[in-house]
Each structure stands twice: as C-alpha cells, then as structure tokens.
C-alpha cells in the first residue's frame, strides 16, 4: 500500500497543483459533509451563524462563528470580551498569507484601544538609554524599512486539544496566521536612543489597559535578541495598515517566537538594566524546561523558563477529520506548514500510521519564518477507513512526533496532525 502511494506521490508531487484544484465551494462542502462544520440546515445558513465543532477531547468544543467584530469575517468566537477570535482551518486553504480579515485575535484585558489618532500617537523609548525618544508615526515611516514574512502563533494555540484538558482559552488549531510585515528594525529604533552598556532587556507594552490593580501586559526580550536585526516594529500587515484588533498602529514582530512577545498597539519600549520580574515574564507564559516542554499530567514544582521559540507544525487545510472521499478516485491533499524558528525543509505524509512517509510538494519559499504551502496527490486511498498523518521537518532537522506534549498551561502543542477519512 505504502509503496503504491509513494510511487504515485513521487510521480505527481512535482506537478501537484498548489492552488486549490477543486472549487472553494466543493472544498467547503467536503468539510461540511465530513465534520458537520455547518450545523444549521441549508435554508437557515443565512440567518444563523454557522457553528464550528473544534472536536476537543471530552467535548464542549462547539463554537459560533461571528462577523460582529469590525474588520473581521467568519471568525470562531472564543470570547467576546476581551476578544478571542479564532481562524477556521479552511481559511488557510491554498494561500500562504492569512488575510487580515481572517487573522486570529487575542487580547488579555477588555480595555483595548478602540481609537487611534495617527497624528497624536507616540512610541516612547526610555530607561537605560543615552536619550529618551518620543517617536511619531511620521518619524517611523521616515526610517529605513524592512519586510518579513512571519508566522504569528499564540503560545496556547491548540490548548483545547490537550488531554487531559487544561484551563485557559480553549483554542482549536486556529490561533495562528502568517503575514507579510513591513516596518522598521527594533535595532534601528534602539540605536537611535542609544542603549547603555549595562542594559540587559527591552520591555515592550501597548495601549491596552489592565482592570483595577491587575499587572499591565508587558513582555521583555534580551538585548541581544532585540538587537538581532530581525525583530521589527511593524506598521503594515499584508500590504495594509494593521487592523485595530491586530495591534494598529504598531506591533512588535518577533519572528520565530510565539506571539505573546508580539506586543500589539506598541507604544512603549523600556530598556532595562535588570531582568524583567513582572508578572507576564516571571509568572505567566512559562514552560517546563524539560525537552518539548513536556511533563507528566499532575506534575508540580518542575523548573520553568519563559516560553520562547516556536517548533515545526503542519496541518491539512482542505480535508477535515471524518471526511468521506470518493472511492478509487485521486485525492488532492493540501495544507500549510511552518518550521518554527527555522525554515521548512520537508513536509511528509503517511497513510499507514507513520510506517512510511512520502514527501509532499512545497509551495514558494517566502522565508524561514513563513508558512509554506504543501500539496500531494494520491492516486487513490486504500479501501476502508484510513488515517492520514502529516509532519514537517525544519532546516535544523527538528521534526514532529506522534506523542503530544503536555504541560499544565497548554503551551507549545506540535503533535503530528492526523485525520481519519474513509471512502464511499
């Protein structure tokens, strides 16, 4: 079985189309038929927001979709306030960049910026610097520009799929997106202020405000990281200004790292001469130091470190778990992959539980921090039920495993994705 699929895959992979070769309607139809994504009867779909079943283990995984948030369409509603909006997996299908109106949204506190006057907005740089800065958007637009494609993924993406389950935002796999970011280097802004020799970290914070005495959201990067020339202050996302809900007017972009560091509505940089001991570095967003941030369920008092770089992942985007596919007919499989903090070297598929792997065709290389599209055409699926698995290996040789990571915060999931399909 594996050999036959492999032959076909090998022959077809090179010419496999990366654009969807079935119409969008048909692809969505497959999703709907397979997974019951569309709960409302057909006649009622224009009246009732479709429900999405995230298939969370143990249940309670059904969510409404919403168009109620300005600049966003067809988002999975995880929480109204502070907004948590998830991207449905089919929105990633066939495109390497995630459209701004489908890009996931995650705020910690309800008091988020709802109005920004671009003439009045200032980004301040203070602390262990030769001079404090108060930069207007005009100042930043006049500086040398950089452009970078990079994946933005929530630390807790896929938390809802942890077993045993853990409390927190119950995301499926869609707290992730890829965009082309344009802005200025954080290094250039820090150089303009002049970082003092004893500085150790840079703390970034934005316009969102905590309730009462809660700790203001702020995240810190080591100086060497902040000055590496890749970390940027973005004012454009996919060729447009950032949506308010994604951090207009400025957002820190920390390529290869989880989005907790990608501070939205960035208006303050503080150069620190001591490590940041604030709540959001010292208590929250910490992972076990154990390999793959993995500990046994129930473990306590293990050493932790602030979450940091991302790890490889790959997803199916055109066929959902439970899909019923035509018997004996060729099957086109497509998806997205990311290498974490290194580029995607290979995406491979297995139809026999990982005994054999077959290389998928890769789409255009948009850089080491970007999604990469993958595709594969199978001559036919084996008869009966079949489990498809997809894994990504990055250019540092890091790959994915069948055994999922577990930790009590629900961070860093990157298990090999599997979908069960059958033919009829």
């Amino acid at each position: 079985m594996g050999g036959r699929v492999g032959e076909r895959a090998g022959a077809d992979a090179v010419s496999a189309p990366l654009k969807p070769n079935v119409g969008r309607r048909h692809a969505l139809g497959l999703l709907g038929a397979g997974a019951g994504l569309v709960a409302a009867p057909r006649w009622a779909q224009s009246l009732v927001a479709p429900q999405v079943d995230l298939h969370l283990p143990g249940g309670n995984g059904t969510r409404p979709t919403t168009d109620a948030f300005p600049g966003k369409t067809g988002m999975i509603l995880q929480r109204s306030r502070a907004p948590l909006l998830e991207t449905p997996i089919d929105a990633f299908d066939g495109q390497v960049f995630t459209p701004n109106e489908r890009f996931f949204v995650r705020w910690h506190y309800a008091d988020i910026p709802t109005s920004v006057d671009v003439r009045k907005f200032r980004l301040t740089v203070t602390g262990a610097t030769r001079q404090n800065l108060s930069l207007s958007l005009g100042d930043l637009l006049a500086m040398p520009r950089v452009e970078l494609a990079a994946v933005n993924q929530c630390s807790g993406n896929s938390r809802g799929l942890f077993a045993p389950r853990v409390p927190g935002a119950q995301w499926g796999n869609g707290a992730i997106g890829n965009a082309r970011w344009v802005g200025v280097r954080l290094k250039d802004v820090l150089d303009r202020a002049g970082v003092m020799s004893g500085a150790v970290q840079v703390r970034a914070s934005g316009l969102d405000q905590p309730p009462g005495d809660a700790p203001a959201f702020a995240k810190s990067l080591d100086i060497a990281h902040a000055m590496d020339g890749d970390v940027m202050i973005a004012f454009q996302m996919n060729g447009a200004q950032l949506p308010m809900l994604n951090g207009f007017p400025l957002r820190l972009v920390v390529p290869g790292w989880y989005s907790t560091y990608w501070v939205k509505a960035l208006d303050r940089l503080e150069v620190l001469d001591k490590p940041d001991t604030g709540y959001w570095m010292d208590k929250a967003y910490r992972i076990p130091t154990a390999p793959h941030a993995n500990v046994a369920p129930g473990a306590k008092d293990f050493p932790t470190t602030p979450i940091n770089r991302m790890v490889p992942r790959a997803f199916f985007t055109n066929i959902a778990d439970g899909a019923i596919l035509p018997r004996g007919a060729p099957v086109s499989l497509r998806g997205i992959a990311m290498g974490g903090d290194h580029g995607v070297k290979a995406v491979e598929l297995s139809v026999n539980g990982g005994r054999n792997w077959h290389a998928a065709a890769l789409g255009a290389d948009e850089g080491r921090y970007s999604f990469r599209l993958w595709s594969m055409r199978l001559a036919a699926l084996p008869p009966g039920p079949c489990t498809l698995a997809v894994r990504c290996t990055n250019s540092a040789g890091e790959t994915q495993a069948f055994a999922p990571t577990w930790n009590p915060s629900g961070f860093m999931r990157n298990v090999i994705e599997q979908i069960s399909v059958s033919t009829a």
Binding site: G58, G59, N60, L77, S80, A110, G138, L141, M143, D213
Partner: protein, 129 residues
C-alpha cells in the same frame, strides 16, 4: 578673485555630491487631519466599536453570582467554553484571579462561585465526558 574661485569650487562640490546627499535624505512625511504618510505607506486614524457580549450565562440559580463576580473583567464565554474541571481546579482559577489579577472577589463567596460554576451545563456530571 579668491571669492569667485571659492564659489566655483562650492558649485562643483554641490554638483557632484548634492544629488547623492539628496538621495539619502529621509522621505518626506505628509499629514492630513486623519493620516500620516511617507514613502508609499499611509496610516489612517481608526476608530472601532466593539460588539456587546455575544452570549450570556444560562438562566439558573448561579447566573447572578457569576455575573456579579466575573463579568467585570471578561465575557461569559471564557467560563462557558472551559472543559469539565474539578472543584479544586476552579478554586485554583479563582485564586489566580484574586492573586495575580487582583480581582475583588470576597473569599466568603468562593463556595457560592464554585457551586455556580459546577452547575453550568458543560460542567455537570451528566454532560458528555
């Protein structure tokens, strides 16, 4: 005579280096009442109206206690979407809200809050495991 030579020299220097110098000037920034633009990027002021909370707590004896204690900081979905959690896990969450986020939760209310949480549809013993 020396002055004329000086100006001639200056003109030559400007002619040779002036263009290169101009090319290194930062791009001109233009502003309107609602926008800032330079070198092909325009940023427009934005205002956004956020929707009201989309989902309420289901009617029941506990909905008041949850509305009173939890709704100040977040909408009900945060609780309604949680997996089935044991009472000690809910207590840990209340402790976190109180300690980490300084939520004004009276310790005397903990038992009532936990009872209300455990009575939610997704938390009841008879709900899907």
């Amino acid at each position: 005579m020396r002055r004329a030579a000086f100006f001639t020299f200056l003109l030559i220097v400007l002619g040779v280096f002036g263009w290169r110098w101009l090319a290194h000037l930062p791009p001109r920034v233009t502003e309107t009442d609602t926008s800032v633009a330079a070198a092909g990027v325009t940023l427009n002021s934005q205002t956004l109206t956020l929707p009201a909370d989309q989902i309420a707590y289901p009617a029941g004896p506990g909905s008041d206690v949850l509305t009173t204690n939890c709704t100040g900081c977040h909408s009900p979905e945060m609780i309604l979407n949680q997996p089935k959690l044991a009472a000690d896990k809910w207590q840990a969450t209340i402790d976190k809200m109180r300690k980490a986020y300084h939520a004004p939760l009276a310790p005397a209310d903990d038992a009532r809050i936990i009872a209300a949480l455990m009575a939610l549809p997704a938390q009841r013993a008879d709900s899907a495991k």
